[in-house]
């Protein structure tokens, strides 16, 4: 259950420090008068609200760098002042000049700027590498080239009507975000979905994880110069997308999860999907086995792009990249929702925190997703999925956390009496993880950036919003 507490402004530093010891810090968002710090506990999301009307709040960015970007965003968008934040640059570019990158200083430092337009089919972003000799000393990232000011645009709109837009904030995280948003509206309406609907949602969310992870491994293969792996992986992703289209009438499963249930017509033939996925599973296993048995690939990805659990904790990182540092953090088990509680989700972790470890975690998660989908489809074969229920959107505020393929996705939503949006805030797993990509690049050579970056495979669109 979602819960809120109030913290006095003078106690912010102390109380947030305590909360972070016992719960997973999820970041913060604000309106003009209040800052809301979010935490995930087994009972649900805890929101610690702080009055920001009476003057500047202490910046938390030094002790807990996870608040660095959040504070920059709140200062820019809601005008909240933070005392002691070293980086005064706005987070979003808007129509003003692009903020200057922060670079390393000193004799012999070279600065290399890449982007915003990249080679290949990649979203825009500016990466500024400071290098000493060949190795990267510092990487400054500038996002928001895809900023659409979505949150402001959603204010005042009907909470139910914007569901298709929520599904399209980011194409690769569509199912996870639709599910998060649906759960938010349903929890405010006091509405529970039936068993079949919950299992159907697990199938859809795990299909999304599956195609993303297969794609990520294909990209890791590509980054390691293993062309055959790239081709095999892309072929398998395509096969999975075709099955997604057969199951939901949309290759990326947009609008398959709607507030109140799943869209009518979704997962009509669970038996056929089950059989098809069993065949795909064998091919995926073969692709993964070939890749992991290829010694040149392994030697290339081992030791590249190191992360560690301490950095992950300080930045509030999550998802496969954090599990690859040995941290057992997954919203599906930390705060089980939907049908996950009964499915006994096995969390994959790995040691090392490098590209290899991230690939290993994804490899295990691919196997687990196949298992979860198969078990859920077995239930669906014996029951039928009901039409979505009507959701009565009343006044309320809630934050919901879901485990997407890149980590914890949250949607915070405040609805007015007439069912329109007062405030919507989206913090994506990509937002939570991007700062750690920059850290993982330190000590690596620039030509390894595609490999390191793709092993995280974070989105820009759900970062930029």
């Amino acid at each position: 259950m979602y819960a809120e507490i109030a913290i006095a402004p003078e106690l912010v530093r102390e109380r947030l420090g305590e909360l972070a010891e016992t719960a997973q810090a999820l970041g913060a968002y604000a309106n003009e008068t209040k800052v809301r710090y979010l935490f995930l506990r087994p009972q649900g999301v805890l929101c610690a609200a702080v009055d920001a009307g009476a003057g500047a709040l202490p910046s938390m960015a030094n002790e807990m760098p996870l608040y660095d970007w959040h504070e920059r965003e709140m200062r820019q968008k809601q005008g909240i002042a933070f005392d002691g934040h070293a980086d005064m640059r706005p987070l979003s570019i808007g129509d003003g000049p692009v903020p200057e990158a922060m670079t390393a200083q000193g004799e012999g430092v070279n600065v290399v700027v890449v982007g915003p337009v990249h080679a290949g089919i990649i979203e825009p972003g500016r990466f500024t590498f400071s290098t000493g000799g060949e190795t990267t000393i510092h990487l400054d990232t500038q996002f928001s080239y895809g900023h659409r000011d979505i949150e402001r645009a959603m204010a005042g709109r009907d909470a139910l009507e914007i569901a298709p837009l929520i599904a399209r904030i980011c194409g690769g995280c569509s199912v996870a975000r639709s599910w998060t948003y649906a759960r938010a509206l349903e929890s405010m309406a006091g509405l529970a979905c039936g068993e079949a609907t919950e299992f159907a949602r697990v199938v859809l969310a795990e299909l999304e994880r599956l195609y993303n992870h297969v794609f990520d491994l294909a990209n890791a293969a590509s980054g390691a110069g293993y062309g055959r792996g790239l081709a095999a992986g892309l072929g398998l992703k395509e096969r999975i997308l075709q099955l997604c289209a057969a199951a939901t009438q949309h290759r990326l499963m947009f609008d398959a999860i709607v507030p109140g249930g799943v869209r009518t017509g979704v997962l009509r033939d669970p038996q056929a999907l089950r059989a098809d996925l069993r065949a795909v599973r064998r091919q995926v296993e073969r692709f993964v086995k070939d890749m992991f048995e290829n010694r040149s690939v392994i030697r290339r990805i081992a030791g590249a792009g190191l992360g560690d659990s301490q950095t992950a904790r300080l930045f509030g990182a999550c998802g496969p990249a954090t599990r690859a540092c040995g941290v057992e953090l997954d919203a599906r088990t930390l705060c089980a929702y939907g049908a996950y509680a009964g499915l006994d989700v096995r969390i994959a972790t790995a040691k090392g925190g490098d590209v290899l470890a991230r690939c290993n975690v994804k490899r295990s998660e691919i196997a687990e997703s196949f298992r979860l989908i198969d078990a859920s489809l077995a239930v669906l074969a014996k029951s039928s999925i009901p039409e979505p229920q009507r959701v009565e959107c009343g006044v309320g505020r809630v934050t919901v956390a879901t485990e997407g393929s890149r980590g914890i996705e949250t949607v915070s939503v405040e609805v007015k009496e007439d069912g329109t949006i007062e405030r919507l805030h989206v913090i994506s797993a990509s937002y939570r993880n991007w700062p750690t990509v920059a850290r993982a690049m330190e000590g690596n050579i620039i030509p390894d950036f595609p490999l390191v970056n793709k092993s995280f495979n974070l989105c820009y669109s759900c970062m930029d919003r």
Partner: protein
């Protein structure tokens, strides 16, 4: 073999506020299922090598300059292809918030590919149309 297949294309993709759904489908073109290299087409790493610029997204304030610079760096003759409803100006993000009314119209797209996102087959059809336009040029 139709004459269209005789024309090679060098394609550069430009993302202007897309949700990345269109990019998932653009990426499929490089995979074995659609493998556009069979038509003599290639996705190239620089606009200076391109004769087709594919664009996605409604256009954002922050991308306007970079998009203009990309087009300015592309030699002529070239064709801009708008990929997806957002780029055409009829998509979910057209005119929402600070988003523009389509990267395609803004950048002078002569070919449009509908869909949210369009299927890879549809994108291939749009690229064929671009090849035809270049042939006629």
């Amino acid at each position: 073999m139709s004459k269209i297949y005789e024309r090679s294309l060098s394609i550069r993709h430009l993302v202007c506020g897309s949700c990345n759904g269109c990019e998932h489908e653009m990426n499929a073109l490089a995979g074995p299922a659609y493998d556009i290299t069979q038509h003599g087409w290639d996705l190239v790493a620089s606009p200076r090598h391109a004769d087709v610029i594919t664009v996605s997204g409604p256009m954002t304030e922050a991308m306007r300059d970079a998009a203009a610079a990309t087009l300015a760096a592309t030699p002529h003759p070239m064709v801009v292809v708008a990929i997806g409803d957002c780029a055409i100006g009829v998509g979910p993000w057209s005119g929402v918030g600070s988003a523009g009314d389509g990267a395609g119209p803004e950048l002078g797209a002569r070919v449009t590919v509908r869909g949210c996102p369009p299927n890879p087959e549809e994108i291939v059809r749009g690229l064929r149309e671009a090849a035809q336009l270049l042939d006629d040029a």
